[in-house]
Point group: C2
Chain length 335, copies 2
Amino acid sequence: MTITMRDVARASGVSLMTVSNVINGRPGAVGTETRLRVLEAVERLGYEVNLTARRLRNGLTGTVGLIVPRFDHPYFGELAARLATELAKTGRHLSVEQSGASAEGELAALSHARIATYDAVLLSVVGLHYDDVDKLQTSVPIVLLGEQGMPRRFDHVQLDNEAGAHLATGHLIERGARHLLIVGGGDEGRQSMTAARTRGWERAQSDAGLTPRPDGVLELAELEVACARIAVRERLAQTPEIDGIFAVTDQVAFGVMAGVHDAGLRVPEDVQIVGFDNLALGEHMTPGLTTIDPSHDWMVQRAAALIDQRIAGQDVPPQHLISPSMLVARGTTRE
Amino acid sequence: MTITMRDVARASGVSLMTVSNVINGRPGAVGTETRLRVLEAVERLGYEVNLTARRLRNGLTGTVGLIVPRFDHPYFGELAARLATELAKTGRHLSVEQSGASAEGELAALSHARIATYDAVLLSVVGLHYDDVDKLQTSVPIVLLGEQGMPRRFDHVQLDNEAGAHLATGHLIERGARHLLIVGGGDEGRQSMTAARTRGWERAQSDAGLTPRPDGVLELAELEVACARIAVRERLAQTPEIDGIFAVTDQVAFGVMAGVHDAGLRVPEDVQIVGFDNLALGEHMTPGLTTIDPSHDWMVQRAAALIDQRIAGQDVPPQHLISPSMLVARGTTRE
DNA sequence: GTGAAAGCGCTAACAG
DNA sequence: CTGTTAGCGCTTTCAC
């Protein structure tokens, strides 16, 4: 039924091992004429290696796994696309799995069994807790991505959440906002992304001599467009003096924009908005979304380099890298 | 280093086979007491099955592949999320790969070798050509998704592109638009999504007694937000009488909205817009995007059911299903 | 109810 | 330069 190396070997009158040598292009291991004969048979029979067998035998297949909380958040889609491009440069291939939809889903995706399926795994830990990650015990290299407060024994490419939030909030203040909200903030004292960005938001205000409003942190059940929209709409009805909003993600910012509009207010004249992530779509919103760019390309290059190192078996201590944040000013904040 | 069944067998003083029977919960194949002893050893040693070995042996791992053109289009993200949820109901797991970024990427993703890595493969064929797909020759079940004009030997869950486009365009006309554009249309005579939607756009006009403008088809190098934005901005500068735009996808529609705004025109007062796909974000644009909903849940359920059938080995003829389209009226078209 | 043998397709190691 | 042997970790088959 399926064609194996054995079939090719028989068809070209050589041994199994010679076929293997040809397929893997092992240098100088097989004569030119023999190689051509084998290749001809490969072509004729339509042979392709069985990656499963190869992996069982020697552990590698050129596939790297990326585990994200959800498939349907543009942030992860953009991350995956960038990673796929970067990994392709070293001939590797990216396969994306989802951890966050359900409790079982997470267990399954993070299980040793699944992880062992890849040459290496990139784990986007947004939303995962320290303990879940700390449980991971595997010989497959794992690189953590985009979050802080994770076990130090892993390689980790992080965002500078607090500095980014500080930058965003400072920009709002500089452009004249005085009554500031953080939408999607909270989670006090935790090591989460949300908590770090909330700290940056607070500190930027203190640094500017402002006192953060006690009711300034608008927590969200989920960092979703719809949640943010409703929360902001209701909140602006209560405290219409709000004139600057830092949304913890661009996704949330899209909801904030809609909510401000629902409340009958204008952006940026009445309320200025800054997001975080620099999603591709932000540029094309009306008005364009001012946001924090966490140097995606830098992150992705670092992560890919770490993967290369680990797969190559380099035994250097765990790396902890922090991606610099930059402000991208667009239409949701004033000139 | 890694713990195998053999280790568990040794630790619990039974044979390899008994461990296998316990792990796979084979009914009545092993005594209660033995089972407990084995499970205890599994726990203690932290054993987990090696999926690679299992697959090599019996071909199945519970993983279904989804191959999409690009990771960073929200459409595919939403599709993947829905599929993952649906497949989880039968205990299966979704892994997503990208085919479209480069020529080699496509070959690699569609290669027999990679496909054979999954229990079944869902192939989102937007952008692939008939011949590429027709070349696929594999024993792994393949279900085609979301496109038309593909080899009949595959199971296929399609969108009703022409009917959807007709619905969208009819709605524009009904709400008073008379000078219509299709953005991202073209590809005349081909079996592509673009061509089908262009036919629907033309037919809706004929059916209403209008003659499609000869310059009404605005082709796009890529169905991207930025392309659409620029094209529309320039086009409206030339022919400002345009008062209705059908965008072939919601993604394109986002660009159209920005382009109309760039041109200094208002939506929906000056120009009405309808998209296609019903992406989640469309609802939260300002104004909300009127669009065509291709019954995502229906598609996903059908696709998952087909996969179940094929994995179960049912030998029914190829199924060709067409998902019904519905209009979702929002703020980019008038009352 | 439990165990021994065989082999899925491939490649590392060595022999010729 | 080419071939033989052994075995990756698991499950199917059949014997006890």
